[in-house]
């Protein structure tokens, strides 16, 4: 009796076990390049991942194997044909939790059209997992006209439509209903509207916001030059070839990166580097030399961020920020062997004591630590490295104040330490001089970085001033384009920052504002007819004599946190909105929740893009930020009338 029952019991258990095994199967949980076909079983456009003909990118799949099993082989097929990887340029790696990552590095396709991507992963018990996605190879019309030999991307970080209007009101003025003069940006003949969503949110940050222009693809927030994967390793993600690299190898162009930010910051790095962590400064700056100088013809790199280029042991001075990769926070880079083989890049190493400035100089770069260094150039230099601050460069508001009066040093700024930092138009000028030496032209990115940073801080005077500085850099490029008609200029942004709005004009003079009681500060905002025409005077150096004028322009912030508003300039730089003017300003509460330091945030608003020169006509209409890459590349590869 008992035996019989136990027999039945065993039979039932075995049966259940068999049933359970029948349900066990490996699954593909991620397929790169990303597609709606894979994520939502939707094969219709818009196609998420798009590439130029012959633009290199990685194929990657994450496979969840059954418990205790391994994945023994993986085949990628494009339109039914298996893809053969170059020698050593593929891998199947165990990434823990019975997960495996399979890659083929450096794939490319030269035929235009939508392609179906299938991955077939075989488990060691012969079970097969499949995943299906798609991507598009864009159509480029060759021989459509003369090519754009030089491409200049000017990115006003965080610059939405209202940032431009504010800069115009202050620097050009308006009266009797018309602007007295246009911004340099306004003189560009073509303007379009750009949608800025990132791969994982309607609100992007600066990494996908610049990566879209450099690679034509989407990225997750915080990631640049790569698609997301399932490993914590910052350097193993599936890569996409940058515009600088593509144009270097197919047209011999040079690459230039100029920013008022720390050069490891997202916007500059997104034009040369591939990492899932925009904060991995040591590795990012190493990659500029090891990959971008070696393979993308990087000839100009300027901005702040000197700390990443100094050895940690202090042998070139204190203040180094070089960290090794043993911590969660910072990162030096070592790339896996399949990346090395597929992209022809060095392995990299954890070298906190690397003297990166010296290494750049050995590679032939002229090094300028300040404006005097820039002005000392002979004019024959073909490679230029400028590192003007240990972190982000100081803003134009404080730089100009110091130039006008050397005793003026804004508290909280680094002007005492770095008193001779150049303005963006001065950096642009030198970059153009160097890059235009190349008979085959160049692609350059120039960033006005602190429009965004000061908008985050809701420091109105400082971001408006930086927007004016940015416009002057645009003017330099327009003058270059007039002299070199085969140049394409694109003035754009990565996203809008802080929900800026020009809500009116002050109804009181600056003197009256200073003596207005805190409780009455709200009442000085003149709306509608009472806004009138705020008027600022421009000094001989091209910047406002003061931002504290009578009946000033009033700015409101929609994507904001709490701040204390006095409507007047803050003498100190970079003080948190909650800690600034706490007794002299009135509390304007914001809508941002969350922990840590609170500031204004990026918004999902569309941003304006203006273009001029060879191929500019394509930049009209409402389009995705990745489309701007393809419009520019049409002009560079296929030409335009």
């Amino acid at each position: 009796m008992k035996l019989q029952n136990s027999g039945k019991f065993i039979a039932v258990i075995t049966g259940l076990f068999a049933l359970g095994n029948a349900f066990a199967a490996p699954t593909v949980t991620r397929l790169n390049p990303p597609s709606a076909l894979f994520t939502y079983a939707d094969a219709t456009p818009p196609y998420i991942s798009r590439f130029l003909p012959a633009q290199r990118f990685d194929l990657q799949a994450t496979i969840q194997a059954d418990a205790g099993k391994t994945i023994t082989s993986v085949v990628f097929k494009v339109n039914g044909s298996p893809v053969t990887a170059a020698s050593g340029a593929s891998a199947i790696t165990s990434i823990g939790g019975d997960k495996f990552s399979a890659t083929i590095r450096g794939y490319s396709n030269s035929t235009a059209g939508v392609k179906t991507l299938v991955v077939e992963a075989t488990q060691n018990d012969s079970l097969v997992a499949t995943g299906t996605g798609n991507f598009e190879i864009a159509s480029i019309t060759l021989n459509a006209g003369r090519k754009a030999k030089n491409i200049i991307w000017l990115i006003g970080d965080g610059t939405g439509i209202a940032h431009r209007t504010a800069a115009r009101i202050v620097s050009k003025g308006a009266s009797l209903g018309k602007s007295n003069d246009p911004l340099a940006i306004d003189t560009l003949p073509v303007t379009g509207i750009v949608v800025t969503h990132s791969l994982n949110s309607i609100v992007t940050d600066s990494a996908p916001g610049a990566h879209c222009y450099s690679t034509g693809n989407k990225a997750n927030n915080g990631q640049e030059g790569v698609f997301p994967d399932d490993t914590t390793d910052k350097w193993d993600n599936p890569r996409i070839e940058h515009m600088g690299s593509y144009l270097a190898r197919t047209q011999g162009k040079w690459l230039g990166i100029v920013s008022t930010a720390d050069v490891e910051d997202a916007t500059p790095a997104a034009f040369a580097v591939s990492t899932q962590d925009r904060g991995a400064g040591t590795g990012i700056c190493d990659m500029y030399l090891d990959e971008a100088v070696a393979n993308h013809n990087l000839h100009v790199l300027m901005g702040g961020g000197r700390k990443w280029f100094l050895p940690l042991d202090g042998s070139a001075g204190a203040g180094s920020g070089r960290v090794n990769s043993s911590t969660s926070g910072g990162g030096d880079y070592v790339v896996p062997s399949d990346v090395q083989a597929g992209w022809s890049v060095p392995a990299g190493s954890v070298d906190p004591n690397r003297n990166l400035i010296a290494d750049f100089q050995t590679a032939g770069f002229y090094y300028a630590p300040d404006l005097a260094g820039l002005n000392a150039m002979t004019g024959s230099e073909t490679k230029l490295l400028g590192l003007f601050n240990s972190g982000h460069m100081d803003v134009s508001y404080d730089k100009i104040a110091h130039r006008r009066n050397s005793a003026t040093i804004a508290p909280g700024s680094l002007i005492a330490t770095y008193p001779d930092q150049p303005l963006l138009e001065e950096m642009t000028d030198k970059a153009l001089t160097v890059l235009s030496k190349n008979a085959n032209g160049f692609v350059m990115m120039i960033e006005g970085a602190s429009i965004d940073k000061q908008a985050h801080n809701m420091d109105t005077e400082r971001w408006v001033h930086d927007a004016i500085e940015f416009d002057k850099a645009v003017a330099k490029c327009i003058a270059f384009q007039v002299a070199n008609p085969d140049t394409l200029i694109i003035v754009t942004a990565d996203h809008e920052c802080a929900g800026i709005a020009i809500s009116g004009g002050s109804t009181v003079t600056d003197a009256a504002l200073q003596s207005t009681a805190v409780g009455s500060l709200k009442g000085i905002v003149g709306t509608y007819d009472n806004a009138k025409f705020p008027a600022y005077t421009i000094a001989g150096d091209g910047y406002p004599t003061t931002m504290d004028v009578d009946y000033r322009m009033i700015i409101g912030y929609a994507g904001n946190s709490d701040r204390y508003e006095t409507w007047r300039s803050s003498p100190s730089y970079n003080v948190s909105p909650q800690a600034r003017n706490t007794t002299t300003g009135y509390l304007v509460t914001g809508q941002q929740a969350g922990t840590g330091v609170q500031s204004a945030v990026h918004t999902a608003s569309d941003i304006p893009l203006s273009a001029g020169g060879r191929g500019a006509a394509a930049f009209t209409g409402v389009f995705d930020n990745t489309d701007a890459f393809f419009k520019a590349m049409q002009a560079a590869i296929g030409g335009a009338k």
Binding site: V28, T29, R30, T39, Y40, A41, D42, T44, G131, L199, N220, G222, P228, D230, T232, D262, E264, D265, Q276, D277, G279, G281, G305, K307, L310, L312, G314, G317, A318, G319, S320, G321, V323, T327, S328, G329, G330, G331, P352, Y367, P369, G391, H392, G412, L414, A416, T417, Y418, H456, S572, Y573, N574, V575, S576, A579, R580, T595, G596, V597, S599
Partner: protein, 235 residues
């Protein structure tokens, strides 16, 4: 329990509860002081005599590095180098940023903003930033205060990589924290559990695409519909 004992117990409970609430609402400094008998700060009630340490040398932030900077890295001034390992007094402001390492906070000449989520390690913080180490005691860690502070402690120079990934160059092993205006000692430590504003360290981004295991037949956000059978293009 009968009604009688309830009428006794209930008010006691209520009163105790009120008392606890009052305690929690009280100055955290007092609470902490009541807990710590051997605190680093002198265990006195507030409004007592100012902290005095005649062996400390006052060091200003602008005296730490030679300014302006040279073309490469920064140089410590002779005064700063002489103070390495010695007792110093530093006056400035706490940076409002909660470190991964709870015992550490940053100290600057001026009030600063630092948004780690936005900036990571690419920031505008001055290189003369001092990293102050104030060990955690009984689950209480330094919490941000807005006052101008004077810190007393031992100066430590030299590059060192911290848990957050940041490299520190100037550190202060802190003995005492005082209000810069009055000299009165302050207790920075607050129970970590009560530090509601403590920033959560940024998790490493594993590329959170919408999970592909979401059954596509139920909802396709690209068509804003609930079923793939009712495709607008197929109408």
């Amino acid at each position: 329990m009968n009604l009688k004992s309830l009428s006794f117990v209930l008010p006691v409970i209520l009163l105790t509860g009120l008392g606890l609430l009052m305690l929690a609402g009280k100055d955290a400094a007092t609470v902490a002081q009541n807990r710590d008998s051997a605190a680093g700060a002198s265990a006195v009630a507030p409004l007592a005599a100012p902290y005095v340490d005649s062996s400390s040398v006052a060091l200003k932030f602008e005296e730490i590095f030679v300014t302006p900077a040279g073309p490469k890295g920064l140089e410590y001034t002779a005064k700063t180098r002489a103070l390495d390992g010695k007792k110093v007094a530093l006056t400035g402001f706490m940076l409002r940023n909660d470190n991964i390492d709870a015992a550490i906070f940053f100290f600057c000449e001026t009030r600063h903003a630092y948004d780690e989520r936005e900036e990571g390690l690419a920031d505008s913080l001055p290189p003369s930033l001092v990293q102050v180490i104030l060990p955690v005691k009984k689950n209480s860690a330094p919490a941000w205060r807005q006052e101008k502070l004077t810190l007393y402690g031992t100066l430590e120079l030299g590059p060192r990589q911290e848990q957050s990934g940041r490299v520190s160059h100037i550190r202060l092993q802190c003995d005492a924290v005082t209000d810069a205006a009055t000299g009165v000692p302050l207790e920075l430590r607050k129970p970590v559990a009560l530090q509601l504003g403590r920033a959560i360290p940024i998790p490493s981004d594993l590329g959170a695409l919408p999970p592909s295991t979401t059954p596509p037949s139920f909802f396709n956000p690209r068509r804003n519909i609930n079923s793939t059978t009712h495709h607008p293009d197929k109408l």
